[in-house]
């Protein structure tokens, strides 16, 4: 091995230098002794040195010869020492390389190295497993051509990104394997260039999300099925009650009509409850989709107020609108935002006694966009305030109220929606004074 040769060479040189040093020490010693015992032979002077002076001269000579030998040693071993240092550095470098190679090869994530044309140069085991191929089958193939037809446009777009050095970060795309099965993947491609090798290369990673996709799909299907199964019976009841109430089947007595109206009303509540439950489960299982578009918040508020007008009029509640610049044109999901506003306003109306007031403030400033709903209602007891946004929350002070019927899901839903949309909700409340909910969009 190269290292042993260099090491042997190094030791030889060191030994030689050691001998040289001993030789110098020995020679200088005998020379000094010679001079001291017989100075006339060399100089014309008389030297009379004490024992101590002799010792000093002698020690100086030894020190000088050691120093000279060390310098000789350093000079002679310069090459071998350098070579040894390089060898040891190479060894640790090789070790890290090996570590990285192992990580790359054995990582559970598919890695591929692409050339500038997007062709696969190298791939690790996970990548071969992902595509169900052996290395020869995949080498030289374009990475951006492994998509099913539906995703070819997207693949082409990503390929353009790649060619223009734009990093690709967690793009969701389908990929097709050798067996023809389609897998969902999150792909990322990063540029790899070094000063030594300036050719454009990319390191691609594939994150297989097929299972998550399947699960999401199953959850969405479940909610959709549940929604169908739960809504069909209430729709049936609704239509039968409609028929009876319309008088098409003959006149009803006052009592009969009253009964049917009550059933009809309860059924309507059931429709509302099912909607809320389904909205909650959609959010809970993460299948809520935010469909952002131009949204007119003041219009949404107005439509909710119209819906609530029977209760508002019945209780004589004063609605104080402070719309400011109206939040007429913001980017949001109007359907979801309506659920939020509907919940907040109906709570405010429900829990405000006769003659109270509800204030609606819409704030649209450079700093923040906010919806504030404030009431002079019964408030939320302080010790229960921390539970307000939890599922099935019902405050103690509403249990006795005739209109205290609620699912306990409303505020939970509101918070979930607002947070899914990237906003926040806060509230302040004092029992028997009122509550204020602040939504920042």
């Amino acid at each position: 091995m190269r290292k042993n040769i260099v090491l042997a060479e190094h030791l030889t040189i060191s030994l030689v230098v050691l001998f040289i040093m001993l030789g110098i020490v020995f020679l200088s010693f005998s020379l000094v002794q010679n001079i001291l015992t017989n100075p006339h032979k060399y100089f014309d002077i008389e030297l009379s040195l004490t024992e101590t002076q002799f010792l000093i001269v002698y020690v100086s000579l030894v020190v000088i010869s050691v120093l000279v030998s060390y310098i000789i040693y350093l000079l002679l071993t310069l090459r071998t020492r350098m070579e040894l240092a390089v060898l040891s550095a190479t060894k640790s470098l090789n070790f890290s390389l090996e570590q990285f190679k192992k990580l790359y090869e054995g990582a559970p994530v598919p890695y591929l190295i692409l050339n500038k044309k997007g062709e696969i140069n190298e791939s690790n085991k996970a990548a071969l497993r992902f595509f169900g191929v052996v290395e020869e089958e995949i080498k030289g193939q374009n990475f951006f051509a492994y998509q099913p037809k539906e995703d070819l446009d997207k693949a082409e777009k990503l390929f353009q990104y790649y060619k223009s050095d734009i990093p690709i970060n967690n793009e969701e795309i389908r990929m097709i394997t050798k067996s023809g099965s389609v897998r969902w993947a999150l792909i990322s491609v990063f540029e790899m260039r070094s000063h030594k090798d300036p050719t454009h290369r990319g390191l691609a990673t594939i994150f297989d999300i097929t299972e998550q996709k399947k699960l999401d799909q199953a959850k969405t299907e479940f909610v959709s099925l549940a929604s169908h199964q739960l809504r069909t019976p209430v729709a049936t009841v609704k239509w039968y009650m409609d028929m009876l109430l319309s008088g098409n089947l003959g006149e009803l007595s006052a009592k009969q009509e009253d009964y049917i109206k009550r059933v009809h009303g309860v059924n309507e509540e059931m429709v509302g409850l099912i909607d809320t439950l389904l909205n909650v489960s959609r959010i809970k299982i993460g299948s809520i989709e935010i469909d952002s578009k131009q949204t007119n918040v003041s219009k949404l508020v107005e439509s909710v107020l119209t819906e609530l007008s029977p209760q508002i009029e019945e209780k004589g509640i004063i609605i104080d609108k402070q719309y400011g610049n109206n939040l007429e044109n913001i980017k949001s999901d109007p359907k979801l935002l309506r659920i939020v506003i509907q919940n907040l306003l109906s709570n405010a109306v429900k829990y405000t006694p006769k003659g109270g007031s509800v204030t609606i403030i819409l704030k649209d400033s450079f700093i923040e966009k906010a919806i504030v709903v404030s009431d002079t209602g019964i408030g939320i007891p302080e010790k229960e305030q921390e539970k307000v946004f939890t599922k099935m929350f019902r405050a103690d002070n509403v249990r006795g109220l005739s209109e205290g019927q609620g699912t306990g899901l409303g505020l939970y839903l509101v918070k979930s929606i607002i947070e899914a949309m990237g906003g926040s909700i806060q509230f302040v409340s004092k029992e028997n004074k009122g509550s204020t909910f602040i939504i920042k969009l």
């Binding site: 809504r231 069909t232 209430v234 409609d242 028929m243």
Partner: protein, 126 residues
């Protein structure tokens, strides 16, 4: 109104209760009402009877509403028949798809009263 002049409505829904209440209401309103309990039967009847309007449920066994709508609109015998979808799920994706597939309107079962359905049907026949 003689039977000949009566407008024909075909209700395609797997839920017998819903079919019955719709049939009763529409009959009272003067329509001739026919029923089918899935898309396959509905398609056959639609071709035979040539109804003025098909009230079509979406989720049904054997053949669902989407499939029946597609087949009806692709066929010469069904192209001109108006279709109103009956759905319990309000989702904008479905509504967009309905219009694209050639549907003429939709009813969200839990939201519309019987009278408003009759109004919609009459509106579509004008």
């Amino acid at each position: 109104m003689s039977d000949e002049n009566k407008k024909k409505i075909l209700i395609v829904d797997d839920d017998e209760n819903l079919r019955m209440v719709l049939r009763d209401k529409l009959s009272i309103e003067g329509f001739e009402v026919l029923e089918a309990e899935n898309g396959k039967e509905g398609l056959k009847k639609a071709f035979e009877i040539q109804p003025d309007i098909v009230l079509l449920d979406i989720m049904m066994p054997v053949m669902d509403g989407w499939e029946m709508l597609g087949k009806l609109k692709k066929d010469e015998r069904g192209k001109k028949i108006k279709v109103m979808m009956l759905t319990v799920i309000e989702d904008t994706g479905s509504i967009a798809r309905l219009m694209q597939d050639g549907g003429s309107g939709y009813v969200i079962k839990t939201e519309q009263s019987m009278d408003s359905i009759v109004d919609k049907v009459k509106g579509m026949l004008k």
